[in-house]
Amino acid sequence: MKTLRDVTVGETVKVVKLHGEGAVKRRIMDMGITKGVEVYVRKLAPLGDPVEVNVRNYELSLRKADAEMIEVE
């Protein structure tokens, strides 16, 4: 299973499914990362975590641990 965590910087991927539950998952979805949406991985923070992605035409940052919940293709 490929997750958003594994995506290299500069790649665009499509979200397949969100795993996990509760507050973090809801928050990720509220911010627009839902099934079928395209996510462009823009960069890593200078210390290697979190990541910055472009989704629905705006910039979003999330931790790698949370990015792991997002299955992509």
Partner: protein, 762 residues
Amino acid sequence: MDKQLRIALAGNPNSGKTTLFNKLTGSNQFVGNWPGVTVEKKEGRLIVDKEVILTDLPGIYSLSPYTLEEVVARNYLIEEKPDAILNIVDATNLERNLYLTTQLTELGIPVVIALNMMDLVKKAGDSINVKELSRQLGCQIVEISALKGEGVTEAAKAAIEAAKHGKTIPQHSFSGPVEHALAHIEEVTVHNLPEEQQRWYAIKIFERDEKVLEQLKVPADVRAHIENDITAAEKELDDDAESIITNERYVYIGQMLKGIYKKKGKGQLSVSDKIDKIVTNRILALPIFALIMFLVYALSMGASITDGGISIGTFLTDWANDVLGGAWLTDGSRAILEGWNVAPWLVGLISDGIFAGVGAVLGFVPQMLVLFLMLCLLEDCGYMARIAFIMDRIFRKFGLSGKSFIPMLVGTGCGVPGVMATRTIENERDRRMTIMTTTFIPCGAKMPIIGLIAGALFGGSTWVATSAYFIGIAAIVISGIMLKKTKMFAGDPAPFVMELPAYHLPAWGNVLRGTWERGWSFIKRAGTVIVVSSIVIWFLTSFGSVNGQFGMVDDLYEDDSVVTDEYVAQVAERMGIPEDEVEPMDDSILARVAQPVSIVFKPLGFGDWKPTAATVTGLVAKEEVVANFGIMYAYDDQNGEEELEENGDQIWGRVAEDFNAFSGGHGRLAAYSFMIFNLLCAPCFAAIGAIKREMNSRKWTWFAIAYQCGFAWVTAFIVWQLGRIFVGGMNVIGLILALVMLALIGWQLFKPYKEAQKLTVQ
């Protein structure tokens, strides 16, 4: 007269909500907090109609039950039922902004959309069919530019009109299985609720929203019944209920926008993207961050422009302390009052108690205003979010936010603005944790204490000061890790899924207003705490009972019939000092109280009344600690001797002698333990006032102070007890206790930790 109309202003963070609120209400604003939480609440009267109250809801992305801001906002909308919602929508970020709109339209409250930043959309060559969007959403849309003030009045008028006559019916529907379940839920659970709110409640029940289920007290059998419907829908759509709803909202918006939003340019880098490419670049980000932090610090708290630095804040604060506070308020008021032949005790109270206290508050104001100005700038232009992005990795390990860096940096100058700088941290748990730990960092006023100890007992060694910073940082790290595992902090989840807003030029109106609001709230609230406590401390040091007579000790000591030689001998014996060193202060209430209280510090190695009294007066201001040592070690600057140095170098010899005497020859260890306690214990009253203001809760304020004092005590205890293994005079019971405390800390540090999923808000 009509009933007073109330309109709620709702929208995403960074959508221009604050700008719009300021434009709509002008100076008719009242700033406070939502009850019981640290979230700020703003209300104001509309300029176009003073009878209408506009409530600025916290900036939110959704009405989920997981973040404090969202819970505050939805509770207000459901319970207070404002007459209309003015929903500000950022046209450059339509999809995510409309996601909130779809939820707002379900509440049964008329919604008017203020479509902001349309000018930017047009500039980019894109187009939005506003008429069609309005039809599809079922609510009126007014195009505005909050920054330029265009369309703002029209939006307000439309909202008033909607509040009087409007009705918004949600136009979007969910998929078949969901609607089927919703119909069932409406039928069995929410039919006795107000009709217009039924749909919202039904959707929340479908999502298994715990807060709503609790509130409605749905009976178990009914719940089981609905549960069947929900699971059926979940099975059919192969997802959990919450995700289904979220998903379908976004799908609906995507479908709707297909014909409405026409994008021309694609893939072009905006100015903001170009800036961000440099500013959060992997290599450049940290140096740029360091430079910005240096500027923030140097301009506000650093060396004054008169001392070769660049700080305007320090320059003005020095002036306020020396001239305004010292000369005009304290000395000036004394001269005037004495001129009026006011009773000496009253002169003392007003000049030394109240005005010295007020002066202390005023002294901070310039530094704080400069600092807040810069923080508001960083926030408004979009850099603050990047700070969290850059620093998150380090700080989240100890339960803090990446934004906690700023309060701590500022705290090295002064804890008061440090605590107030926590306001930029959105997450309440991170904020509280930062408020509690910021003052562990040695502030400027603690430097003289370090200087005194280093000079008196360690030959001026620089490692004392260095170690003080290490202890401060270690205290933050250890406290962060320990506290985040406690019940008090376990309740709130802290998802770090954060928007990085586009950079833009700061809106000066917002920045200046934000700066002033923070400055004023400090003057008002912290001011009262400081004034009252200054009066109390002044009373405790000035009054006492001398040879059976109660009064001002300075006056009583003038009277030889009261202070007989015999009495002086008694005092000297009680205090354990030579007769010629007896001072009026030795009879003050503070000295009398400090004597028995000093038992508390016995296990820390400095259970003597002098360090005890110095510690207590340190609550007024940490500079007072050294000044009080001066008084207690009978340094007399009246008799031709020069004024006591800031680090008290004239009394080093006496301090060293005394510490060695009462600690059984372990003066160094005792002094170090004393220093640790004073660095970590409760900060000065000004900072406590700031903590109270920012915590917005008596319970949390007391908890913070108790924790700081407790942590300081335990740390000093461990240092003193373990230290004596090496310097001699080991106490077996003390050693065992110290080891037990260490073990408990270690256990709390290393026990496993699980992030909470549920938000606990009353």
